[in-house]
Amino acid sequence: MSVEQLQRIAERFPDAVVEGYTLHGDETLVIKRENLVEVAQFCKNEPGLEFKLPLSVTCVDYIDEKPRFELVYTLYSITTGHHLRLKVRVPEEDPVAPSTIGVWRGMDWWERYCWDMYGIRFSGRGPMRRLWMYEEFEGFPLRKDYPLRGRQPLIPEADVRDIYRGPGPGPGSPPASRSNPPRPSQLPIVK
């Protein structure tokens, strides 16, 4: 990967680029949150850059720094054979970043992973859904202040009428409460 390509992007978006450097052979460009989508489109479509393969988006939680979160986009260009890393800082008070699924559809699930694990919302793509955790999960597990073995509240059983299932919540049974879900043996068998 060459520094010239970084400089092309920097020249095209002088206001967007905060910093660019090479570390261990990886080229990295730190850009501002507002300009993410246009820089992404430029990287994808510009002949000579052509970063068409989206590898991943991930987020790093620098809990002691402000802004706290850093989104890291990794891109690859099959035609030029270069990798590129775009970094965007997202503050904790306003953890929103523009979504790049309009540029690469492959970023969809990685953005869901950032939401699921870090709580970063992406604007312009509808409500965020969790990817790995269940929807009722509270908190964002990969944040540094989430404990390693954090406890979660019990999810009340959803009322599902299933004729094949047998004992379970049925008509006339007390509603499942959070702290004391009814045990199946306690409930009448619903035919």
Partner: protein
Amino acid sequence: MTDEKKPSLPSGRDEATPGGSAPGIEKGPTTTPPADVAQRPGGEAKPATAVPNVAPASPAAQMQANPGMVNVTIDGIPVAVPPGTPIIEAAKAAGVNIPFYCYHAGLSIAANCRMCLVETSNSPPGKLVPSCQVPVAEGQKVTTNSPRVKEQQRAVQEFLLLHHPVDCSICDQAGECKLQDYYMEHDFRPSRFDMPKWMKNKRKDLSESITLDQERCIMCTRCVRFMAEVAKEPVLGAFGRGQREVIDVFPGKKMTSNYQGNVVDLCPVGALTSKDFRFRARAYFLTATPSVCTGCARGCNTFLDHFQGVPYRYRPRENMDVNQYWMCDIGRRSYHELYEERVSTARVGNARVAPAEAVRVAAEKLKGGPVAVVVSPVLSLEDALAVMLLAREGLGAREIFLSGRADGEGDDFLLRPDRNPNRKGVELAAQAFGLTVRGWNDLGKTKAKSVLLAGVEVPVADDQFASWLGNVDAVVALASNDTPVARAAHVVLPLATHAETEGTFVNFEGRAQRFLPAYPGRDDVMAGWYWATAIGAELGLAYRYASAREVWVEQSKRLPAGALGDFDWDKTPRNRLKGVTPLPGGTVDGRPAGWRQLVPLKTPTSAA
């Protein structure tokens, strides 16, 4: 770890026009930068020698800019320090850590370890100079990372390890040992030594509390200098020459100083070990919480080393105004009372009850009749404020009685005769609420029907006071240790020690010092302000506090203005040091690596 840090701009860029011209894209070095330049990951792609905002000015300009200071350049970083500063301190100011063994800021300079040798521009040709001994000179250029210096550090490390016994698995110092750290940093090569190691006395008793292992000693003579200069009891010396050299006491002498525990901290290797702490815990399991010693009224700053809710030792924390780098043995041993014979459950009579029930019974007992409020000056300032509030408004008292530990012998260094950490603080709190402070002897003359003991430390024998308490109708005690006094009380509420809650102690000079909580208390242990507030709530007061900070914020307004100088409650000592603790098994609430978060203390509203 930096706090307010925006993504940093590459150096050399015009700060006035951010993004105006095409920003310079830099190709950083692909070699590994020095690991101790504190920047966020990725930030050191910029050459390590670049400093963002200081352009190296001409020497004349520099001298004008920093009058009275000496300008030196350390590894390319210019710093200005007062004249007479040794290079090693100037380097610390520049963020460069030069390794050392024998140097200590509080002791005289020996320069015998030879680990801190650096290259300077004005040294004799072909020679390296010890940076702990050589003061800075104007315009000096110091290099600490040239190949020559690195080879010197490697060679010194290798020499020190030649006859060092293979003791890491049984040595107390493992995990906080300079030999280990510097070996991994500077000499990570295999051993070239193929002879038997020289053997010396491995467990020599220097006193009842210090053991010396002469084989591990690297002859830095820190202990010798300390005993001679600081403890003023020069009983240690270096005897012999070459590889037979040993540290020993002079014939017929023993270490008796009250400050001998400091040599254990000073010793960079595991040669001097404290018998009190020996083999009890591994240093990397321990978390160090900044705390204050409660042994006497000086309030030496300490680190309380604890693990899984048990304190293991105190170490002094540097504070040049209070205790410099030292603390006395009496204070060191005072950690035992933090966990021995504790009251951890609320009791009415001899039966354990729920805390809410105990509070209710306590409030009932205190309701009728005059109450004698006895406050121990071991309580923190916030606890005292809450107790005074309760006394004044809840119990209608006009005076409080000061108990506390009996006086002892002071000395001319750190130890004060007053063995209570917060006498000044309790007196100020009483003053804040307009309560008169009565001495201990006045307690016998009261006609009070009930007694509220906030803290059960008494200046007379425990049994004697316990039998006196037998004549009183109702005794409610906030007790942390299960002394005869606590057992004589009708209602006992378990009090948190200063390791389990946060607060302030005011020392004999009027200096307010904050301490941080190390671990949550066992069972029903709660802080003094919590119990006072709870009893007050039962008596009809409207105050509800959820933390010591709230107590401070509301009640400190009553303190006489300027009593505590420019004390800022929120300015806490440097946050607890991370241990390299593997996750302790059996915890339900795990913690992320290195972050010692506490399960929050229960709030008062859960008591009612």
